[in-house]
């Protein structure tokens, strides 16, 4: 089956997707394909089930998360968002990035969980606004150059968020 992730869930290839439909269709597929349905089945059926259930999980996670969804959607349009030759970022965003990283490091050194948590919600708010931008670039304007830049920003922010989470986990 060489379906793309959108086709698998009967979704239009847009950035703005109905998460409810994604979730419902994902569950439908797992209801049919999950290895639990094939415990007493033949080896070949087990294998087919394992493959489809794995694909459905991967596809669902990719589309559920806005950053990975945007990155995937770009790939469908032939653009690799994190291509090594494709790393230019606006200076103001880079400055902002460094600032976030500094706050993260200072707060980690100071064992200051509440500052880390505040930083996390700031980053999440920033991510929200980037997602609104993505919907504009992808779905309304079909402007994939701008979509690509915004996607890279979102991926950066996701990474910082993950690092903040880990810093909190280590301190907790």
């Amino acid at each position: 089956m060489s379906l793309n992730y959108y086709q698998l869930f009967y979704l239009q290839p847009l950035f703005n997707i109905a998460l409810k439909t994604l979730e419902t269709n994902y569950r439908q597929i797992q209801s049919e394909a999950h290895p639990d349905r094939f415990v007493t089945a033949t080896a070949t059926e087990k294998l087919a089930s394992m493959q489809l259930a794995t694909l459905a999980n991967e596809a669902y996670q990719t589309l559920k998360n806005p950053a990975s969804r945007a990155k995937y959607l770009l790939e469908l349009h032939g653009i690799n968002a994190i291509n090594e030759s494709n790393t230019s970022m606006p200076t103001d965003f880079l400055m902002q990035q460094m600032q976030w990283r500094e706050t993260l490091e200072d707060a980690s050194m100071a064992h200051d969980i509440s500052t880390l948590e505040a930083l996390l919600s700031e980053m999440q708010a920033e991510a929200k606004s980037l997602q609104a931008d993505l919907s504009l670039w992808f779905d309304e304007r079909k402007d994939y150059a701008n979509a690509c830049e915004t996607t890279r920003k979102l991926i950066f922010i996701d990474k910082v968020c993950a690092d903040i989470q880990q810093a909190i986990d280590l301190l907790d």
Binding site: S31, T42, A48, L52
Partner: protein, 634 residues
């Protein structure tokens, strides 16, 4: 005379079509077995009416094995041959056991401390896997007896065995090995909190996001699940596989020791018997304090000295405050991983005997700002959930509405240059999951690569648990960085990992099913299985033949049913080819050669590969609004 049962039209199958399957809660302190009878999950009792089987195994002088209450009663008298809490040592090596001094067993110092640990008993060296297998055998016998398996109601098809959600790959593998030794077919390893959620969710027909707080005898798990119409989706799980009710006993035990030391300056270290006696007294005091303000601890040590101390509930709370707090850290981590706020939690379900302690309940109530739910017996809920899942897995539930989507508790990765971990599969990934990552050589002309698989959340390999190490050889000599080695991690629905590596240019491949470095080897298991079946070669052959025939019968009937339902999905030539293979297998399964029959099974499996894939796609298409998957194009 029993009343005859009449079922609703179209609802039920004839009684003989009900397939026997059980759920087993293999606990640190107690183990249980349950099954679904007439649609109701029920815990099976022994002949004395006990539901709980203490997870204690005693090896007797006459070579017999005693499991449960009787063994527990002799713990203090015969500590070295009476093993309790073996679950704590599952998948562990000697170097993992930190408090050996307080454990009354004779651990065997092997030359290689990273090997699976062993205990010296009068029945010889015993691994925790074998001890657990003895518990499982006992429960299996209980189930077969009370279900009348082999007595007209058919054979036991298999068991769902629960494991702590936070068990790592080594501990899961050890549990599966134990089941194999006990002669049980493992339908699925199921995470304990998920099992509890199934029992709770189906019983109360609830929807929403729930936290399962499971503090057992030796393990702590916290799982956050989203319940929607029979789908149980685990959002995050966390825990501590070495924290449980035992540790609370231990705090009391240490407190008693301090008391004795205060009273005499000639205190000598306790023997195994006295250690076991005091631990038992400590456990009893803990249980007593659930409903009482103070507990009196009275006993006489082997040197004749009398112990008589009183522990107040308040003192107990203070002694164990750190332990209670220790459970809240994983709880907060799971909440963060699930990206949830406290007000999004609809309920907190308590599981495990240790949640009976008032200070534990209070701590949860304070953290979640709601009264935890305790309306299911915390000792039984896991076994009941496992039984419900077992029943569904063998196909007894006519409505396909129960679906468990569980996750991997710990991140999986491999070692890269400098002892750093490259994470391949992050924790809390929904199962089954597969991920691939490309690596390259770091030296010119490098022809081999050593791949170390690790599990854990830390950045350094040294801080994670090493699961396996294997080598990919025969990489063509190239300049550094030119080779492309794709390493694929796959975790199945039991949470067990397999890893393969492949050099992209030449296709040279290495594959391992991850057997923990200190786990049992395949040879060791085969040897143990052989000795447990008795030495007679004939027995073994007969058993192999019987198994091969059962397998052949199962696949013939599965394929026949599939053809009658969905034969229209393939061409008549394809259908005929499969039918020919069925006939061939039917013929060979009458012969007495297990090897030939198994080959026939493989052939039929192979012949149905394309058919299986077509059926899978068809059923998914049907489920999604009856549309054909190929109709939707980008």
């Amino acid at each position: 005379m029993a009343l005859l049962q009449i079922s609703e039209p179209g609802q039920s199958a004839a009684p003989h079509q009900h397939k026997l399957a059980i759920g087993i809660d293999l606990g640190t302190t107690n183990s249980l077995v349950a099954t679904v009878i007439s649609g109701m999950a029920t815990v099976l009792q022994d002949e004395h009416g006990h539901a709980l089987l203490p997870s204690v195994v005693r090896y007797m002088p006459d070579g017999s094995v005693v499991v449960g209450h009787e063994a527990q009663a002799q713990q203090s008298h015969d500590p070295a041959n009476t093993i309790a809490s073996a679950k704590r040592f599952m998948g562990r090596s000697l170097k993992d056991i930190v408090d050996r001094a307080h454990i009354p067993y004779s651990f065997v110092d092997s030359a290689d401390s990273s090997k699976l640990l062993q205990l010296q008993t009068r029945a010889g060296l015993k691994t925790p896997v074998e001890i657990s297998a003895d518990i499982l055998k006992n429960l299996k016998a209980r189930a077969e007896k009370s279900l009348g398996a082999d007595g007209g109601r058919g054979e036991l098809l298999g068991a769902v065995i629960t494991v702590p959600a936070y068990f790592d790959d080594a501990q899961r593998q050890a549990t599966k090995d134990a089941a194999r030794l006990a002669g049980l077919n493992v339908l699925r390893l199921l995470n304990e909190p998920t099992a509890a959620a199934v029992a709770y969710g189906l019983d109360h027909a609830v929807e929403g996001t729930f936290v399962i707080y499971d503090l057992g005898g030796g393990t702590f798990d916290v799982s956050i699940l989203k319940l929607t119409k029979g789908v149980f989706e685990v959002l995050a799980t966390n825990g501590d596989s070495a924290l449980g009710g035992d540790d609370f006993d231990h705090r009391i035990y240490c407190w008693i020791l301090d008391k004795i030391r205060d009273g005499s300056n000639t205190f000598s270290p306790l023997g195994e018997q006295d250690t076991r006696l005091l631990l038992t007294k400590a456990r009893q005091a803990k249980e007593w304090l659930t409903d009482n303000h103070e507990a009196q601890i009275v006993c006489r040590l082997s040197n004749g000295s009398l112990i008589d101390v009183t522990l107040s509930a308040q003192q107990f709370v203070e002694l164990t405050q750190q332990l209670v707090l220790k459970t809240l850290t994983p709880t907060r981590k799971a909440m963060r991983d699930a990206n949830l706020t406290l007000d999004e939690i609809k309920g907190v379900v308590l599981v495990g005997g240790a949640t009976r302690m008032p200070q534990v309940k209070q701590a949860i109530e304070d953290y979640f700002k709601q009264t935890p739910l305790t309306n299911l017996d915390p000792d039984k809920v896991v076994a009941l959930g496992a039984a419900i899942q077992a029943n569904a897995l063998v196909g007894n539930r006519s409505d396909n509405d129960l679906l468990l989507l569980d996750v991997t508790p710990l991140s999986l990765g491999l070692e890269t240059m400098g002892g750093l971990v490259e994470r391949i599969i992050p924790r809390n990934s929904t199962l089954p999951v597969a991920r691939a990552q490309d690596f390259t050589t770091y030296k010119d002309g490098q022809t081999a690569m050593s791949i170390q698989v690790v599990q854990g959340e830390r950045e350094l390999v040294a801080d994670c648990r090493s699961l396996a190490r294997f080598e990919l050889r025969g990489i063509p000599a190239m300049v550094a960085g030119a080779a492309r080695i794709r390493v694929t991690f796959q975790v199945d629905a039991d949470g067990l990992l397999s890893v393969s590596a492949r050099e992209q240019a030449t296709g040279i491949e290495a594959h391992v099913v991850v057997k923990p470095s200190y786990g049992l080897t395949e040879d060791e298991i085969t040897h143990m299985l052989k000795s447990s079946f008795g030495s007679a070669e004939v027995d073994k052959k007969a058993r192999m033949l019987a198994e091969a025939r059962v397998n052949a019968g199962a696949i013939i009937s599965a394929v026949t049913i599939a053809l009658s339902h969905d034969g229209n999905l393939i061409t008549s030539e394809e259908k005929q080819a499969i039918e020919v293979e069925i006939e061939i297998l039917q013929a060979i399964s009458q012969t007495d050669d297990a090897v030939v029959i198994n080959q026939g099974v493989d052939k039929l499996n192979h012949a149905t590969e394309a058919f299986a894939a077509v059926r899978m796609n068809a059923s998914v298409s049907l489920a999604l609004n009856g549309k054909n998957l190929d109709e939707i194009k980008l």
